[in-house]
């Protein structure tokens, strides 16, 4: 190309560059749509494969050697109990940690260390949490291969998600609100508890639900702890008819969970079991998507209600 362009050269070059632009738009859109389309296709196929198994029986029966009689009762009950433990542990600890980092922590190397840890933990492969739990909860603390171990493991796993979510929510509360409360003589905790936290409830809930939706599908860490794939009994009910009406026996119970059940079924060569896997996977997928939808809805609702 010569240093001085004629007007024709410039025009043709410009036309070429503009065509490249158009080509990229087409390519980009095509790739985006084919990725989303492919995933949609896979999901539809999954639902179709499992369609014959959907029904009340599937939800209320224990796993069985016969594929057509097998159900996911012990799996979804186990998953619910694990999620209960996870939520009860991860929510208070995560929110407290976030409040400390956002409202209390001085800016020094020590806070820096905590922050780096939170960031790094989010990138640790989930199976490593499983190994941690196996060494620590199952053997050192002697919790065994129980609902409690699984719940604690997943709580550690989603802690960074809850911390990050809560911090974002706290950060969104304007400084003026804090200063107004300080001006009236409130202590730091009173400011946080009575003013900052109520405004950030939406964000905190969103973080919790997103964390739980991640935990509900996690398979690797709870396999490592030793979830069983064939469980034909339910843990003791947490609520009992006699005083004191609650019991904690269920925490020590052995368990299975939805993803474990799916993994077990999908690994069998028998096609009837693979249909069970598809049906259970579709249900699990539905649960995750529903949780995410709820989280998005809460975020939207709270955002609309707040007018600073």
């Amino acid at each position: 190309m010569s240093a001085v362009l004629t007007i024709e050269e410039l025009r043709s070059g410009l036309a070429w560059r503009k065509n490249l632009d158009k080509a990229f738009v087409v390519v980009g859109l095509l790739i985006l749509m084919s990725c989303l389309g492919l995933l949609a296709l896979l999901f539809l196929d999954l639902v179709r494969d499992g369609a014959s198994r959907f029904g009340w029986d599937f939800l209320t029966q224990f796993p069985s050697r016969k594929a057509e009689r097998a159900g996911i009762l012990s799996a979804w009950v186990g998953t619910s109990m694990i999620m209960l433990v996870t939520a009860l542990v991860a929510l208070p600890v995560g929110v407290a940690a976030a409040i400390y980092l956002e409202e209390y922590a001085p800016k020094n190397w020590f806070t820096g260390v905590i922050e780096i840890n939170v960031t790094n933990l989010a990138g640790v492969p989930s199976i490593v949490y499983g190994l941690l739990a196996l060494g620590l909860f199952v053997y050192k603390f002697g919790f065994g291969q129980s609902v409690l171990s699984a719940g604690l493991t997943l709580a550690l796993l989603i802690l960074p998600i809850i911390i990050v979510g809560t911090r974002e929510a706290l950060r969104a509360v304007p400084k003026a609100i804090r200063e107004a409360a300080y001006g009236l003589g409130a202590t730091r905790w009173e400011v946080t508890k009575d003013h900052v936290l109520p405004y950030s409830t939406g964000g905190i809930l969103t973080g919790l639900i997103l964390g739980l939706s991640r935990a509900i599908g996690e398979t690797a860490p709870i396999i490592t702890i030793g979830a069983l794939s064939f469980i034909a009994f339910l843990p003791n009910s947490p609520i009992s008819g006699t005083f004191p009406f609650v019991n904690f026996e269920w925490l020590k119970s052995e368990f299975t969970a939805m993803p474990i059940q799916i993994f077990n079924w999908v690994s069998r060569p028998d096609q009837a079991f693979q249909q069970n896997a598809a049906a259970a996977a579709a249900i699990l997928l539905g649960m995750t998507l529903a949780m995410n939808a709820i989280a998005i809805w809460i975020r939207y609702r709270f955002r609309k209600k707040i007018n600073w």
Partner: protein, 312 residues
């Protein structure tokens, strides 16, 4: 005047003052509780390191580091036991490579498209979908790999075994596309508007601006997205455990079945191993290698982002 103040303070009694003191003490106590919760993150990291190192140290009492690194077979559960980590590492790297071959180009193109070309409405629709896809349980992707992608590939490659690293890698790639796209798009959106406008003013088209101004400007964020993608691919467990087979084989050929580090840990955990057996200890040694691999990539990523960071 001063008399009234005195009476008032006595009227309020010591209660008012002790209440302030009490509130301050309570604040201090609460701060300590909050700090303790924040320290859980630090303790988790420490516990991970300690557990992995201590449990693997038992393993390395039986197995020399030299054997661990140079033996070409990994069969800790057989009578003829070999303890060479290489087959597991080769499996992990092969699957990760296939996954990145899918995820990096597709993810980057989608990110450029969304950030620079798509309409506002399009972006606002697609971004939540991408984030939603990140929440899909990986066991579901394992189902896709084994029962949908492998049979599909077998139509074109009749010799492809039922378990293979190719379909596992492809599905993991597809799985992390939304992730890479979403994080890179965030980085590109953070490039200031005036840089784009400067480029347009020089007569550059959108594509030129995107490739020569926005992408270099966002390179540190894009590199971070790639590194996160690599970490996820290395640590991905269920897809490979389901679809890639579980025999540790020293091969870099993706059309063969092989085990990854993560798949091996799952395989051992599914059995019932006594606490002090070498099989039990071997999963911690494998886990330690996995942690070191992710650590290496994270450190590389950290330096890459520092090197390529453009200040504006």
């Amino acid at each position: 005047m001063s008399a009234t103040t005195t009476t008032r303070s006595t009227a309020l009694g010591k209660g008012a003052f002790s209440s302030l003191a009490y509130r301050k003490y309570r604040d201090r106590g609460i701060e300590l509780i909050l700090l303790a919760c924040a320290l859980v993150a630090v303790f988790t990291t420490l516990a991970i390191v300690v557990i992995l190192v201590v449990e693997s140290s038992y393993f390395f009492e039986h197995v020399t580091i030299r054997e661990f690194l140079t033996d070409r077979m990994w069969t800790p559960l057989f009578d003829d036991a070999h303890y060479g980590i290489m087959p597991l590492v080769s499996g992990t790297l092969t699957v990760t490579f296939v996954a990145l071959l899918v995820a990096i180009p597709l993810g980057t193109i989608i990110a450029i498209y969304l950030s620079e070309f798509a309409t506002h409405r399009m972006r606002e629709t697609v971004k939540p979908i991408l984030e939603l896809l990140g929440a899909v349980p990986t066991v579901v992707y394992g189902y896709f790999a084994l029962l949908m992608v492998t049979p599909f590939l077998q139509k074109f490659m009749p010799n492809l075994p039922g378990f293979n690293m190719l379909s596992a890698g492809l599905v993991i790639g597809l799985m992390i596309v939304p992730y890479v796209a979403s994080v890179s798009e965030d980085a590109m959106r953070a490039v200031p508007r005036y840089m784009r406008e400067g480029s347009y003013a020089m007569g550059a088209t959108k594509l030129q601006t995107a490739l020569r101004v926005v992408v270099p400007g966002a390179l540190s964020g894009i590199a971070a997205a790639y590194i996160l993608g690599i970490s996820r691919a290395i640590g991905e467990t269920m897809v490979v455990a389901i679809a890639a087979g579980m025999q540790p084989t020293l091969t870099f050929n993706p059309t063969e079945p092989a085990a990854t580090i993560t798949a091996y840990i799952v395989q051992v955990s599914l059995g019932d191993l006594p606490h002090d057996s070498i099989g039990y200890q071997s999963i911690f040694a494998a886990g330690l290698v996995l942690m070191l691999m992710t650590l290496v990539f994270n450190v590389i990523g950290y330096f890459l982002t520092r090197k390529f960071r453009e200040a504006y």
